[in-house]
């Protein structure tokens, strides 16, 4: 922050306040009505001050969950999520969640206690250099060395987290700073990074390219939702008729049941989406970043296409694929400015719709066992427009992306960039707290749920009516699938057939829980799960041999998909 100076501005109310009190007051001022955390030694002054606060503090049972929950809170509410942990292990336990927020551009303010400044650098009890450890995964971080800086740092932290391309920030608060008092606080200083003017030449150039294109395609990423530009994207897609594909995080920006939406692209994308990308002559990338899971072999990705790249982050332009026209702008402003005229794309639109019909998923799998894709499709349709899926990571995550109906990106909480198992349960917990009337379902696997299963206690403690759909194939399914396909069926450490009885586990935590094993039980299970008044877990036993299809093998082009 270039303009932050050392000057201290006396407050009107000059009664001394502790650093912890200033922190809590500032959080309240910034609108943080719900925070997730876990107390410990160095953060005790903050927890002491918290008891007088109007903020709701959710006590998680592992700091990683606090970070995941803060991440999901931000995705659902659009406001920065806040997580709090003590120094040392509390702080290091946050790291996976901070990295998750960094990879998926989620605004988060992580607050860690630190040992007192006089102990810092002495290998004191529960001392770690959390600033140093998190440097690669935060937008910015502050070690507060002056009590008078506390309020300003909190305000600056919220600003940095939420502005431009959002991301996580960290405030490290030494115990003596939290416990000490001051009557002086400095004013915050904001460093605005967003360029104010859109490049009208680039926009006109983009319009011309779109107008001339015979086979244009929208490649929609998570940036659309982050920019709150879903209506603007939909309006642009409607007025141009351009078909679209989406990344994992872009799902729902165009409703997944829109006739011109071809599905997710990439490694587990639909055949129609991947073929359209390979055939298109103009790729309009909107808030996406040419991630390797989306592009497959980069050198053969969209080989016939010129590229228009919209992104608020200038560092994404040309990072992996050169753009013919780049527009570094707020999508909410840029998309409405595009009005290409004289388009001649009827043949292309018709062709993509035929591909969509021809390659559509089918749900008539043989046998009596539960077919997870059909179950997930039905669940999302029955849950309706208020459905929010909080996914874990693995095969079930890809099935959700392929088969669920999403009307908005914020209805699909998923660990996209980091792929962090253990995200689903705390994310679902936060989503249900943020949207108590929504049909929030944590969709998890038998591997993933064990990564943060302790949060069942949090659901019980606060009566959070999260619904959990646990798809149990007694294995680490996606790794097992790769072992089957690419490692000569050497199933190394992926067999989880000695899982605990998940129904009993859930019941031991005080949750309602039940199990289904047959296809004819799925309809009733969906009804029961959604109707349950409190938290409820449905344990769904599926065939361990089931795989996710299609699949683009590593190092291959997106059109070289393997199919069942």
């Amino acid at each position: 922050m270039s303009s932050i100076g050392p000057a201290h501005i006396p407050k009107a109310d000059d009664s001394p306040r502790s650093g912890a009190r200033l922190l809590i007051d500032a959080l309240e001022r910034m609108g943080a009505d719900t925070v997730f955390g876990y107390p410990g030694g160095a953060i005790m002054p903050v927890y002491d001050a918290l008891t007088g606060s109007s903020m709701r503090h959710i006590l998680v049972r592992h700091e990683q969950s606090a970070a995941f929950a803060a991440d999901a809170w931000a995705r659902v509410t659009g406001k920065p999520g806040v997580c709090i942990a003590t120094s040392g292990p509390g702080a290091t336990n946050l790291i996976t969640g901070i990295a998750n927020a960094a990879m998926d551009s989620v605004p988060m303010v992580a607050i860690t206690g630190q040992v007192a400044t006089s102990y810092m650098g002495t290998d004191a009890f529960q001392e770690v250099d959390i600033i140093g450890m998190t440097l690669p995964i935060v937008k910015h971080s502050w070690l507060v060395r002056d009590i008078g800086d506390v309020s300003a740092v909190v305000e600056e932290a919220f600003h940095v987290a939420a502005s431009g391309r959002p991301g996580p920030v960290l405030i490290d608060l030494p115990k003596d700073i939290a416990a000490g008092t001051t009557t002086h606080t400095r004013a915050p200083s904001f460093d605005n990074r967003i360029s104010g003017e859109d490049d009208t030449n680039a926009l006109e150039h983009a319009e011309m390219m779109i107008a001339k294109a015979k086979k244009p395609l929208l490649y929609v990423g998570g940036g659309v939702s982050i920019a709150n530009a879903v209506p603007e994207l939909r309006a642009f897609a409607r007025r141009t008729g351009i078909p679209s594909v989406a990344t994992l995080k872009g799902l729902g920006a165009i409703p997944t049941d829109d006739p011109a939406f071809l599905g997710m692209l990439g490694m587990h994308g639909t055949k129609a989406a991947n073929h359209a990308v390979q055939e298109c002559d103009l790729l309009i990338c909107v808030g996406a970043r040419f991630d390797d899971r989306a592009t497959g072999k980069l050198s053969t990705f969209a080989p016939h296409a010129r590229v228009i790249h919209f992104d608020i982050d200038p560092a994404e332009i040309g990072k992996l694929r050169a753009a013919d026209v780049s527009i570094t702008a707020d999508l909410k402003r840029a998309l409405p400015a595009l009005h290409p005229v004289g388009m001649n794309t009827a043949g292309w639109i018709s062709h993509t719709r035929k591909m969509k019909d021809e390659f559509a998923f089918t749900y008539d799998a043989p046998g009596e066992g539960i077919y997870a894709p059909k179950l997930l499709k039905d669940l999302s349709e029955v849950a309706g427009d208020s459905f929010i899926a909080a996914c874990d990571v693995g095969q079930h995550q890809m099935w959700v992306a392929q088969h669920c109906r999403f009307m908005h990106p914020s209805a699909h909480l998923t660990s996209g960039g980091l792929g962090a198992m253990g995200y689903g349960l705390p994310a679902g917990m936060a989503a249900k707290l943020a949207k108590p009337n929504a049909n929030v379902v944590a969709i998890t696997g038998d591997g993933s749920i064990m990564m943060n299963i302790q949060e069942l206690a949090t659901l019980k403690r606060y009566g959070i009516a999260l619904k959990i759909l646990l798809l149990d194939n007694s294995s680490l399914g996606l790794v097992r699938q790769w072992q089957e396909l690419f490692y000569d069926r050497n199933y190394s450490e992926t067999n989880l057939s000695d899982n605990p009885d998940f129904v009993q586990v859930a019941q031991a935590f005080g949750l309602e829980a039940f199990r289904i094993t047959r296809r004819d039980e799925t309809e009733g299970a969906i009804q029961r799960l959604l109707a349950a008044e409190g938290p409820c877990l449905a344990h769904v036993v599926i065939d361990p041999r089931e795989n996710v299809w299609p699949l683009v093998p590593p190092g291959k082009s997106n059109h070289e998909m393997m199919e069942e």
Binding site: P136, K139, P314
Partner: protein, 85 residues
């Protein structure tokens, strides 16, 4: 072939680590660097070389521009940000 990036750093926690870490993490060797200055700001010249041809100095420059507490010095209006050695 190295290129030099000229920077101004705030005297803030971790600012030097932040810039050096970013440069290396994004796929560039640091062949040398000089730092100078007193007070609130320091100037830094970093000689960088990409690990391979896929790493572009202009992308690195834009990634540096995203850091808080670090500013890239562009010598003249309209001039390229990184000067050839």
């Amino acid at each position: 072939m190295s290129k030099t990036i000229h920077l101004e750093l705030d005297r803030a926690e971790g600012s030097l680590q932040r810039i050096i870490g970013l440069i290396e993490r994004r796929g560039f060797h640091i062949d040398g660097m000089t730092m100078d200055g007193e007070g609130a700001h320091r100037t830094l010249a970093v000689h960088v070389r990409p690990y391979d041809s896929s790493r572009q100095i202009d992308v690195l420059s834009r990634q540096i521009d995203k850091l808080y507490g670090v500013r890239r010095n562009v010598p003249d209006e309209g001039a390229v940000s990184c000067v050839m050695q």
